[in-house]
């Protein structure tokens, strides 16, 4: 191998290595930013028909925007009695929420859930709504979970 060829190969590997390093750093930073971001930002969830009358469902309203493409795989709620004595699972949807809302836009969303059958005596509850998501960004994909706590729920006796 001549000195010229060796010099050329050395220079080429230097340039390729430099670009590889830039690619690694850019992808690494993008991945960290993606994996640490919350699914919803500026989010607010409320129950709009408090107190929930007999035979009516719990109606939720949400506003917020998604930074990335995220599709929900599971959404559920837990209603904790305000006195801390018991809790009820909320997982029976009577009206579905809009799925896969587009990222970057503030989108109102709403859904309804059936009052659990064992919530006979009614009362004041604090609801936690949790969503499990699969999110995509560029070449990355990851599973995320986000919980919104402390939503006031008042249920009238059944």
């Amino acid at each position: 191998m001549t000195t010229n060829t060796y010099g050329l190969i050395k220079a080429a590997t230097n340039v390729i290595s430099g670009f590889s390093m830039i690619a690694i750093i850019v992808l690494g930073v993008a991945y960290m930013s993606f994996s640490n971001a919350f699914v919803f930002q500026d989010v607010k969830i409320e129950i709009v028909n408090n107190p929930v009358e007999n035979s009516r469902d719990i109606e939720f309203m949400m506003i917020g925007y998604k930074k990335h493409e995220c599709n929900s795989t599971r959404v559920y709620g837990v209603a904790y009695a305000e006195d801390g004595t018991h809790s009820h699972d909320l997982n029976l949807f009577t009206k579905q929420y809009t799925r896969n809302t587009r990222p970057g836009e503030e989108m109102p969303n709403q859904w309804s859930m059936k009052v659990p059958q064992d919530m006979i005596s009614g009362g004041v509850y604090r609801v936690s709504m949790t969503g499990d998501f699969v999110c995509n960004y560029l070449i990355f994909q990851t599973e995320k979970s986000q919980t919104y706590d402390n939503i006031l729920l008042e249920v009238e006796p059944r």
């Binding site: 050395k10 230097n14 390729i16 290595s17 590889s20 690694i24 990355f140 994909q141 990851t142």
Partner: protein, 103 residues
């Protein structure tokens, strides 16, 4: 002793140079291959890269500290030896001048 060690350091520098030129490309291409064929996911590649990066940084840092320490010691010794040589040359010159004057 110094010559042998200096050669060792020159070899180590060559090895670091080769490592710096090949590792990023090999890691990038290798990771892409493994991710595309779903052998690992991006998260695994990210953490492997992070550990590799941290390990390289720590090893390089200590190597650089020890090498700089050695080079500074060699530089100090060389300066002292040069000073001694300069003093000796001055003394020899003085003595030669004296012999010349005596003759």
């Amino acid at each position: 002793m110094d010559v042998e060690r200096n050669q060792k350091i020159a070899q180590q520098v060559e090895r670091w140079d080769l490592y710096a030129r090949l590792t990023p490309t090999i890691f990038l291409v290798g990771s892409m291959f493994l991710i595309v064929f779903k052998i690992i996911d991006f998260e695994t590649a990210f953490y492997v890269g992070l550990v590799g990066f941290a390990f390289t940084a720590v090893v390089w840092w200590w190597w650089a500290i020890f090498t700089i320490k050695y080079l500074v010691t060699v530089l100090n010794r060389t300066s002292k030896n040069l000073q001694d040589t300069a003093i000796e040359i001055t003394q020899i010159s003085t003595e030669i001048e004296k012999i010349k004057d005596d003759n």
